[in-house]
């Protein structure tokens, strides 16, 4: 099973050209952080309530995507809330993103190609070799959004993360998005870490908007 960070990278990947959709970096950072925390929660290493994120078990998951964050939580003296950990883990987002991509390449799901011009690397592309996992993630999301079924915990997380990095406008038509936007809001709230990711993003967007307004 893929980790949420890996699923998120597949969601923002354009199958046609192997490039990633233009998702604002700050949104992607929080979403990747949320994905790692949610994987730790589903591995029963952490738990949350409305006020705090609790370390349940500091035993390593033996997973390079998750263990650095678990170690960070384990070494913290005081208990903090989920929002704190989303922001703190987001500082490691570049490493999480690279690790997720490396694993997708190692699993044979993506290929890594470097665009060169005069021997200088201009950028990277990740053409899809095996689209089974990507189709499965998208199918899971669509099944929940276009029905009134009760979502499973993994469905709730991936829908929350996709919403957090504003990717639905890339994978749904405008008409589809209008049809399911209430449903997205309904499902994404069902997880407290997902809510912390959304809140962190909302707050930073507000700060940015205020900063712009205050500029001379």
């Amino acid at each position: 099973m893929l980790r949420f960070a890996e699923e998120l990278m597949l969601l923002i990947l354009d199958d046609e050209n192997g490039r990633f959709a233009r998702v604002p970096d700050r949104l992607m950072r929080y979403a990747l952080a949320g994905g790692v925390l949610m994987d730790l929660a589903l591995e029963n290493r952490i738990d949350t309530d409305l006020e705090k994120l609790i370390l349940v078990d500091s035993t390593r998951v033996q997973d390079s995507l998750l263990d650095p964050t678990l170690a960070d939580i384990a070494q913290m003296d005081e208990t903090r809330d989920a929002r704190f950990w989303v922001e703190r883990t987001a500082l490691r987002a570049d490493t999480i993103r690279e690790e997720a991509l490396n694993r997708l390449v190692e699993r044979g799901i993506l290929n890594r190609e470097e665009d060169r011009f005069l021997w200088v690397i201009q950028g990277r592309r990740y053409p899809v070799i095996d689209n089974t996992a990507e189709r499965e993630v998208k199918l899971r999301i669509m099944e929940v959004l276009f029905s009134d079924q009760i979502p499973g915990p993994r469905d709730v997380v991936i829908i929350g993360l996709a919403h957090a990095c504003d990717i639905f406008k890339e994978i749904l038509s405008a008409r589809e998005l209008a049809r399911v936007s209430d449903r997205i809001d309904q499902v994404r709230k069902l997880d407290l870490i997902g809510q912390a990711v959304s809140q962190a993003i909302t707050d930073i967007e507000l700060s940015l908007a205020l900063a712009v307004q205050m500029m001379p």
């Binding site: 929660a41 029963n44 952490i46 738990d47 949350t48 309530d49 409305l50 609790i54 349940v56 079924q149 009760i150 979502p151 499973g152 915990p153 709730v156 309904q186 709230k189 069902l190 997880d191 407290l192 870490i193 809510q195």
Partner: protein, 112 residues
């Protein structure tokens, strides 16, 4: 955590007492799932004695609700105290799962 179950007028009622968190969420899921038989078409979980629920506990409720919905069985929660009710409201569970003030109301709504 303690769960006591009984059947009344064709409704399986599970009374949950104590805390549900990561320490016992798996046990909560196992006990609840084992108590629900394939023949049960109406299930009420009474949280009147619940003092705390974490995300792990909420996930169990989601899984049980999903499993029952998939086989067209009815599911409801009842008797949530103030703080517990707040958790279910903030997390939006009240929008996807029926929640009643009392066990009597829940049973009446489910046709018992």
């Amino acid at each position: 955590m303690e769960i006591k179950t009984q059947r009344e007028n064709g409704i399986l009622i599970a009374n949950v007492n104590g805390r549900v968190d990561s320490a016992n969420a798996r046990e909560f899921e196992n006990v609840l799932s084992s108590a629900i038989s394939d023949d049960d078409t109406c299930v009420v979980v009474d949280f009147g004695g619940l003092s705390y629920i974490s995300s792990s506990g909420l996930r169990v409720i989601l899984l049980v609700a999903k499993s029952l919905r998939n086989r067209n069985a009815e599911f409801a929660l009842c008797s949530l105290s103030g703080p517990i009710g707040e958790v279910f409201k903030i997390s939006g569970f009240d929008k996807i799962i029926s929640i009643y003030d009392s066990q009597a109301e829940a049973c009446a709504a489910l046709g018992g």
